[in-house]
């Protein structure tokens, strides 16, 4: 009984926190953050408890919709699927979230809308936990949408800034496009398998495949569209860099560590079905590869500290998606998900620390020489950078190389995308690192930057420890046991290290000396392959025009019929009235004509 209640407490405590903050949070900042941190902490405790306890926890589910008719049961329940996948994920999510909550106290200290922010974070945590524990597709979709909302709220935190408002809107809309596919996929899989429970999926998927393989493939690809939206895969990746308009902790928690990884988590959930469909896997791997490569290319030419990290996130998500598609178990990708969660969160928190130190200046070409002003941030950022680049003892190395090993084994060309991306990743992250922390201070803010308060540094510290260590097999496998491929040739490791070294070397040569502006400029990369422009054009010209035409047609054609009909009636009445000339003789004539009419009707055969 007690234990069965714990998952519910885990899930609902952030929701309760959100409601409480909504109603009472305006009273004081302390109250808002206090409630938020308390609720997150409660979830954290529950998550750790459940995980450490281990074993199966039977949780009674709540019937959201439950109806039986004509012998068929239709049941959508809000329930918990606590297994090897979700329990560690819960731990990671709650841990990172808890740290970010604490960090936020410092980061947001001077900001307005404190209560709004914490309410949003609580809502986010609730929805994210919902995704993690979801036992079926519909429940996952429900929370999937909810994280979209919380993301919307948090990105739009500075809603008076036009860019933030637009970014929030864009993020939501693009996600909705992904969800369109997701929902259709759910519908399709449900219709032909009769279930949306993840537990039943494997068996039922086999049934569909046996009947019509392409049906399952279509369904899975549609579901994957959800991942494309949520995990910012190409071509729906555009929202993620824009979402950096939100406060940095938000970027760190939602748009780096947890929410965007939900897509990958979902793929991991449906992995049993996915592995039945080679075509779907192929699609997934190509999308992942392209995303991973393109995002890294775009990242090399960004100047906004958060945007660089955002592209990096997209790129890393691409790795995870590749990981899903190449490995024989979902744990490979999930492993990278975990390590990435920690080090990307760390990177963002460090970036946030830098930004606070720089008085909200985000352009890296206005920074420089911060290693002296912010030594702790410098060190922790360095850990993050190494982890991201995948320098051997750091966590990123273990997880990323594992994916590439699997890709190599699989023999897909996508491997080369991933491999080259290693070089690119190293290049852009070191570029960032060098420009921000080394070289001369490039602005007044840089000269007067200060170290962040302790409340921010503490979470960063914890995260940097985790980033360093979580990839080590004996620690990492405490969370998850990724499957290692057999027969990995040794030279592969060298190739990968080589790519890494090339990237680092180029970055060092170009940026370590502290140039005042970027020595290389590639417009295509800087302008993100003009994809954003293309979307702008699409939305404005195509969709806008189409909407305009629809409105016009509605106003003048559909309604035009109504107008014409009513006008005709009026005109007809007006003309008929003209018969009423007022002359007796005319009336007498009408009489005569009328009699003739009656005779005609009566007397004609």
């Amino acid at each position: 009984m007690m234990i069965a209640a714990i998952p519910w407490i885990l899930l609902l405590s952030p929701l309760v926190g959100c409601v409480l903050i909504l109603f009472f949070g305006r009273a004081s900042k302390l109250l808002s953050s206090g409630i938020g941190i308390f609720c997150a902490g409660l979830s954290l405790l529950c998550a750790w408890f459940l995980w450490l306890k281990g074993g199966v926890v039977e949780v009674p589910s709540f019937p959201w919709v439950d109806y039986t008719s004509f012998g068929k049961q239709f049941r959508i329940s809000i329930g918990f699927l606590l297994d090897d996948l979700s329990l560690p994920m819960l731990v990671v999510v709650t841990t990172v979230a808890f740290l970010v909550f604490i960090y936020s106290v410092g980061y947001m200290a001077q900001e307005e809308g404190y209560w709004r922010y914490f309410a949003g974070l609580c809502l986010f945590l609730f929805s994210m936990l919902g995704i993690v524990v979801a036992e079926n597709f519909v429940m996952m979709f429900l929370f999937w949408e909810l994280v979209g909302v919380s993301s919307y709220i948090l990105i739009g935190h500075y809603f008076r800034r036009d860019s933030a408002a637009d970014a929030a809107k864009q993020a939501f809309t693009v996600n909705r496009v992904g969800d369109f596919g997701f929902l259709l996929g759910i519908l399709l899989i449900w219709l032909y398998s009769g279930t949306f429970s993840f537990n039943d999926l494997k068996g039922k998927a086999q049934v569909i495949t046996d009947a019509a393989p392409w049906l399952l493939t279509t369904g899975l690809v549609l579901v994957f569209l959800g991942t494309v939206g949520k995990s910012a895969q190409f071509p729906l990746h555009v929202w993620l860099p824009n979402s950096m308009e939100g406060p940095t902790p938000v970027s760190s928690l939602l748009h780096a560590a947890t929410m965007v990884a939900a897509g990958v988590y979902m793929l991991a959930r449906i992995f049993p079905a996915l592995s039945l469909s080679p075509i779907a896997l192929e699609v997934v791997s190509w999308v992942g590869g392209i995303t991973c490569f393109l995002a890294a290319l775009m990242g090399t030419q960004q100047n906004d500290i958060k945007r660089i990290l955002a592209y990096s996130t997209i790129s890393q998500l691409g790795y995870m998606v590749i990981g899903i598609s190449v490995a024989t178990a979902s744990t490979v990708a999930v492993f990278h998900l975990f390590t990435h969660a920690f080090f990307k969160c760390l990177l963002f928190l460090c970036a946030g620390s830098v930004i606070v130190g720089m008085h909200h200046e985000q352009d890296i070409w206005k920074m420089g020489s911060l290693k002296n002003k912010m030594p702790l941030t410098f060190i922790m950022m360095g850990i993050g950078t190494f982890a991201l680049a995948g320098v051997p003892p750091f966590s990123g190395y273990f997880s990323k190389d594992l994916i590439l090993e699997w890709a190599w084994i699989k023999g897909t060309p996508v491997f080369w995308f991933g491999a080259i991306t290693i070089a690119l990743t190293t290049f852009y992250i070191f570029r960032l690192f060098f420009v921000v922390f080394l070289g001369p201070p490039r602005s007044d803010e840089a000269k007067h930057a200060q170290e962040s308060p302790r409340v921010m540094l503490l979470p960063m510290l914890i995260l940097s420890i985790l980033s360093l260590t979580v990839g080590w097999p004996f620690i990492g496998h405490f969370f998850i046991q990724p499957v290692h491929p057999e027969h990995v040739p040794l030279f592969l490791r060298f190739i990968l290290i080589g790519f890494l070294a090339v990237g680092a070397l180029v970055a060092y040569l170009l940026y370590a000396k502290g140039p005042l502006k970027d020595p290389i400029q590639v417009a295509v990369f800087e302008n993100r392959f003009y994809i954003d422009n293309f979307y702008d054009w699409l939305v404005k010209e195509i969709q806008g025009r189409f909407a305009g035409i629809c409105a016009f047609v509605d106003r003048w054609v559909v309604d035009g019929f109504v107008k014409i009909a009513s006008g005709c009636v009026w005109l007809f009445g007006f003309c008929l009235r003209m018969l009423q000339v007022g002359n007796i003789q005319a009336y007498a004539f009408y009489f005569g004509a009328g009699i003739l009419l009656i005779f005609f009707l009566l007397l004609s055969k």
């Binding site: 007796i584 007498a588 009489f591 009328g594 005779f599 009707l601 009566l602």
Partner: protein, 485 residues
């Protein structure tokens, strides 16, 4: 009580009033109006004590006079109309007198009351008429009385013009009617409706042309009274020109009594199935065109009285639609109910029109602007009236339309129903125009200066009673329905 006494009492009473009025010039004429109201009311209550079995058909009436439930119903109906018209006439007397060369301020209005009573008696006879001769005579009584009443405001050109139009066209209709009767008589050798019905059941088809020729002419004559296309052209002009109480009387009483006649004639003519198909086809065509004519021409109207005239044409169309659906078997009650609804709502509309017209001196719709502010009660009453005319639920007019359309549907008159729907759509437009004027549009400057509309108490009581019955019977139609055979 012998039913024939009803008309006799009424006519004698009217004659008495006339005499008293002629020899007593000192008494205010208003009193005669009230006396007439009282008399009519008494006769109305007398109808409840009528015993048809007392009537000996052989002894006195030779098949002229029927006192069946239909007749009694319509007699009551006409008496009610007359009461309303009399009350309206009393209210209208000052306006009437304005257009008369008079010695004293209220001279000349006395005749009005007795004329109303005579017309009422004529209509009651119409309701009972079973014979073409009787029909002719009673119709003429009504028509001639109306000639006088329409032209009553003899100083008013519009009234005179209306009188002339009504006179000439009415006379043409009379001659058509007579001609038709002659032919029916010539073909069948009788003028008695039940007998005609009996003969028609086994008649040689070679007689059909002459029979239909006669019927066509009679139908034209009755159509004139009913205001059916194409004999409705006089209606707007005459309604507009006539004194308002007379218009009300004309539009409700005259139409209703003409409908009884039509129903009775149809009843006998339709006893032959071959004839009936032709007649019904003609009827439905006439009904359809009448609905269209009335409703469409009303749309651009700006004069309220004229608008009501067109609307009364439209209602004639709906009633004819009921008549054309006679095969459904329940169109008789439907028509009766519709007429009842029409009575209540049209009387209310004319009642409000009268006082507003009296106060503003015009019947133009513009003068109703801002009535909702100026005298909300009147505005409410008029709103109810037009809504009922439009056939909105919870007013008595709805059930009228409901029954008519259901009988039309039962008779499979789908095209007619379609036209009816179109007509109702138009109807909403022009009836709402009245509501718009009262509630949306601000009163013009000159009107806002004019004093508030004064209504005498009895008149107000009449309006209130009409309004209340309009709603009550709109929710609970059974009392009326029980009266209908």
């Amino acid at each position: 009580m012998n039913p024939i006494l009803l008309e006799a009492v009424l006519v004698c009473y009217a004659f008495l009033l006339l005499l008293v009025e002629a020899f007593n010039s000192r008494m205010p004429r208003r009193y005669f109006g009230w006396a007439a109201v009282v008399g009519t009311t008494v006769v109305f209550f007398m109808t409840f004590f009528v015993d048809s079995s007392k009537m000996n058909p052989e002894a006195g009436y030779y098949g002229f006079y029927a006192a069946d439930t239909l007749a009694i119903l319509f007699k009551r109906f006409i008496l009610l109309v007359s009461v309303c018209v009399l009350i309206m006439a009393i209210e209208f007397a000052p306006v009437l007198v304005r257009y008369l060369p008079v010695e004293k301020p209220d001279a000349g209005s006395g005749e009005m009351y007795s004329l109303v009573l005579f017309a009422c008696a004529g209509m009651m006879w119409m309701a009972s008429a079973q014979n073409f001769v009787m029909i002719f005579v009673s119709v003429e009584l009504v028509t001639i009385t109306f000639y006088v009443m329409v032209a009553m405001m003899r100083g008013n050109r519009a009234s005179l013009e209306a009188g002339i139009k009504f006179l000439i066209l009415g006379a043409i209709a009379t001659s058509l009617n007579v001609y038709g009767i002659a032919w029916i008589f010539g073909t069948l050798g009788t003028t008695e409706l039940p007998e005609i019905g009996a003969i028609l059941q086994s008649i040689d088809s070679s007689l059909f042309p002459s029979l239909l020729f006669g019927f066509g002419l009679i139908f034209a004559g009755i159509s004139f009274k009913v205001a059916a296309f194409p004999f409705q052209f006089w209606v707007p002009d005459v309604y507009q020109g006539a004194p308002t109480p007379v218009t009300a009387f004309l539009s409700v009483g005259s139409k209703a009594s003409a409908f009884v006649v039509l129903m009775r004639v149809l009843e006998s003519m339709l006893s032959n199935s071959e004839l009936s198909s032709k007649i019904l086809f003609m009827l439905s065509l006439v009904a359809g065109v009448t609905i269209l004519m009335g409703n469409l021409s009303a749309i651009p109207q700006t004069n309220f009285k004229r608008l009501l005239a067109y609307s009364s044409i439209a209602h004639a169309g709906y009633l004819l639609m009921g008549a054309a659906s006679i095969v459904s078997g329940n169109s008789g009650p439907a028509i009766a109910y519709y007429l009842m609804a029409y009575l209540i709502s049209n009387m209310l509309a004319f009642g409000v029109l009268l006082v507003v017209g009296k106060s503003t001196g015009s019947d133009e719709l513009v003068h109703f602007n801002g009535l909702g502010k100026k005298s909300p009660w009147l505005a409410t009453a008029l709103t109810l009236a037009v809504l009922s005319l439009a056939g909105l639920p919870f007013t008595v007019g709805f059930f009228g339309k409901f029954f008519i359309f259901s009988s039309a549907l039962q008779a499979q008159q789908f095209i007619l129903v379609g036209i009816g729907i179109l007509g109702i759509g138009c109807g909403f437009y022009y009836y709402l125009k009245v509501i718009r004027a009262m509630f949306w549009l601000p009163a013009s400057k000159e009107q806002s200066i004019s004093s508030p509309i004064e209504i005498s108490k009895p008149y107000a009581v009449m309006l209130i009673l009409l309004s209340i019955s309009l709603i009550i019977f709109g929710v609970y139609p059974e009392p009326i329905f029980n009266l209908i055979p």
